[in-house]
Subunit: 440 residues, 2 copies
């Protein structure tokens, strides 16, 4: 007869405790296969508990296949298999996994950081919009999100793009996604395995990692002062190019009109050629008008426009979007719309209000002032320092970064190391190049 | 001499207006290539505007490559290429894209809907937690999110899994992602192109679509009353299986202990075999204890546990997570950690508080009561109707759904159509099977 000390059960209910005890007895062989269990009534009486408790425990054991009921005969232990040579679970390799958490070393000045400081995020307005949203109990945010994002946000974006980027876009051409990398992944899936991607060198290296991880071939194409070199592009097998014409990453140059037309003409020559236009921080240029995007110049469904709120609001919000020309939008819908939208409806709706009620516009203007003041302070400090004798500042109007050309025999690596010793983090141009220069 | 009517500029600034006019004149050939432009001073005087306005317009035109400055000579129009045979942009194919917006037909009763009603979402608590988060101005939510999610949420999840699922998990083994589909995509990338996936039939068909779209082979394996058939699995080339042992989708059956052990032993036989355990709504079972997951039984790094808050809180929040055994976690980190986390830090932190302050637990208990009451009402109505004579209810404790077996000669398609005419949406078991039964 089974005897368990009910008083030992701690915080468990009686039935949970009995379920656990009997299960352990079966798994460890103290109850043999096909052994008959006491009747519910007998066991209840013996343990001084209710029949219901025994019934619940037997039900759960039956549901999980540890025991079976035979009609008119009672309950029997099932024959339970074993896993072959069970081993102790492998311990976590503490040292290697520890790196994951500790990778983010703290610097006094981090010129590479992709983050927003507390004074920059519009906490008050955002809090107000979220409060309104939740107190409205808007049913729309609880329903299924269309695969390409909430209509309210797409409508707000279409208006914004018309006003600020001169783009005439139907909200149905927009796809919202959790970050630019996510949208790239889907695009690459849509283009398929025969695609070869051309990536600017120096340029956005992560795009090459994403391509590789999806088994898609890619090629680095060197840039000259105007952008991706057409001759090198024509010599490569690439059929899809990734460019940021308004603000080349990381040099900050603007692609002039003629190179844009050259690239469009390149795309027009073959049906499977496309241009991915990454407009990642065009809103934040300090000087002059915003540069009109290639998307607005394209007459043949060849340009995919992609942008993010990582730079303009905060990276940790994880909201990006892309605009597809009609033909590609239909292709996307037909092949990939079974993937659910990856951005929370709560934040999509908050962002929709943020844009349509004019807060985004004001926020951008404020950010431009703040970043420009910060940049000026850094430039003034550089100019007042001995560094000014051997260095030149390039593309300082690019938005959120500038290039400093230093005339030195030190290698990139050793400059970086010395800065790091003073708790300053630097990004070198060579970090973004396919072949580091001889110096590094 | 250029003459533009400054009073026609509408809401543009003077420099924006002039920039636009000159650009249009160049693009449309009214200003010829290599034509000399008036000096800034002359043009300013002529138009009655400031020299700065002209300077800004010329700067912007120069930046974009429309004009050039020649030292000591002045400004000249550049020779601008053309795109070949520019065409009118293709109009949106209104009819086909319109479907995107209108797909969600309204039903009086939708038995298929994956949504939460307003009374179920914990608006008040969620609003309080978001308010606290935003008024704290916590810097953590503005920084870079670790690739596998905010530590605060992973710690809360590890505790939750220990308490409610008997899983001993290090927070470093957890990866947060924007939806289960997103996490599947990453897993498939990690397993690579030589993988063959086994999917239960009937089962979670979307997994086959995801696999196909990533170029990964898959095979449907029929289930019997205990789950995936081992003989059929052994005959297939599959090396990774997808199962939901606590609550098979869509039949709601629980996989008994012996089938679990069989599948584990299958996985232990070859180094490249793995089990993906989808525990998608285990929290919401009505009867009995929660079923312990296979992850907790695995001693050899073979089971990947995956779960979501879509069922337990709301689908539109887009937060799922997976727990990898240590070996696979290291593999993921080494190969895929360059992908940024896809879930907003704001919502990760809100959810972390929701779990760690005990609200999630209370919410689940409330949801179970509500869903059970709803289910009972539906079952009672069914039993009181003539349908009760020809039908049987199966697996009604599964959580958020049950099966109704109806003895009829009508095909699935015609039952569905008739229900739809009465504005009732039904999901048929055959919708989830590889080969619809002869009836449909």
């Amino acid at each position: 007869m089974l005897t368990y000390d009910i008083n030992n059960r701690g915080e468990s209910t009686i039935y949970e405790y009995l379920y656990g005890c009997i299960k352990a007895d079966i798994m460890e062989g103290r109850l043999a296969a096909n052994e008959k269990l006491p009747s519910k009534r007998t066991l209840a009486k013996n343990l001084g508990v209710s029949v219901t408790s025994i019934e619940n425990a037997y039900d759960q054991l039956g549901l999980e296949g540890f025991i079976r009921a035979e009609a008119g005969k009672g309950f029997f232990v099932n024959e339970i298999g074993k896993t072959e040579a069970p081993e102790e679970p492998e311990p976590l390799h503490d040292k290697s996994l520890a790196e994951i958490e500790d990778r983010h070393k703290e610097f006094i000045i981090d010129f590479k950081a992709n983050r927003t400081s507390i004074e920059n995020f519009p906490f008050t307005v955002w809090a107000k919009l979220v409060r309104n949203l939740l107190s409205d109990r808007n049913e729309e945010i609880l329903g299924t999100i269309p695969y390409n994002g909430l209509k309210a946000l797409r409508v707000a974006l279409a208006k914004h793009l018309y006003m600020y980027r001169g783009m005439e876009v139907d909200p149905r051409q927009i796809i919202i996604g959790a970050g630019t990398e996510y949208l790239y992944s889907r695009l690459l899936q849509m283009f398929g395995q025969n695609t070869v991607i051309a990536i600017e060198d120096p340029g956005y290296k992560k795009f090459s990692e994403i391509s590789s991880s999806q088994g898609i071939l890619w090629d680095y194409i060197p840039i000259d002062r105007e952008g991706m070199r057409l001759d090198m592009l024509q010599d490569s097998l690439a059929n899809v190019i990734h460019v940021s014409p308004a603000n080349h990453f990381p040099t900050g140059t603007v692609m002039p009109i003629n190179r844009r037309l050259d690239l469009l003409n390149w795309a027009y020559q073959k049906p499977d050629r496309y241009i991915i236009e990454d407009d990642y921080d065009s809103e934040l240029r300090y000087a002059g008008s915003l540069i009109p995007p290639m998307f607005a110049m394209d007459s043949r469904n060849k340009v995919i426009y992609i942008n993010t709120f990582s730079k303009s609001i905060v990276p940790s919000l994880r909201i990006s979007y892309m605009v597809l020309p009609p033909y590609l939008m239909e292709l996307y819908r037909d092949t990939l719309s079974f993937y659910s939208c990856t951005v929370s409806s709560f934040e999509q709706m908050t962002l929709a209000h943020f844009i349509s009620e004019g807060y985004f516009d004001r926020h951008i203007n404020r950010m431009k002032r703040i970043s420009k003041a910060k940049r000026d302070e850094v430039l003034n400090a550089l100019m007042a320092s001995p560094l000014s004798n051997i260095s030149e500042i390039m593309e300082a109007n690019a938005g959120t970064h500038f290039l400093l050309h230093v005339d030195t025999r030190l290698s990139d690596r050793s400059i970086k190391k010395r800065a790091s010793e003073h708790h300053i983090e630097l990004a070198m141009l060579s970090d973004y190049m396919s072949r580091p220069s001889l110096k590094s």
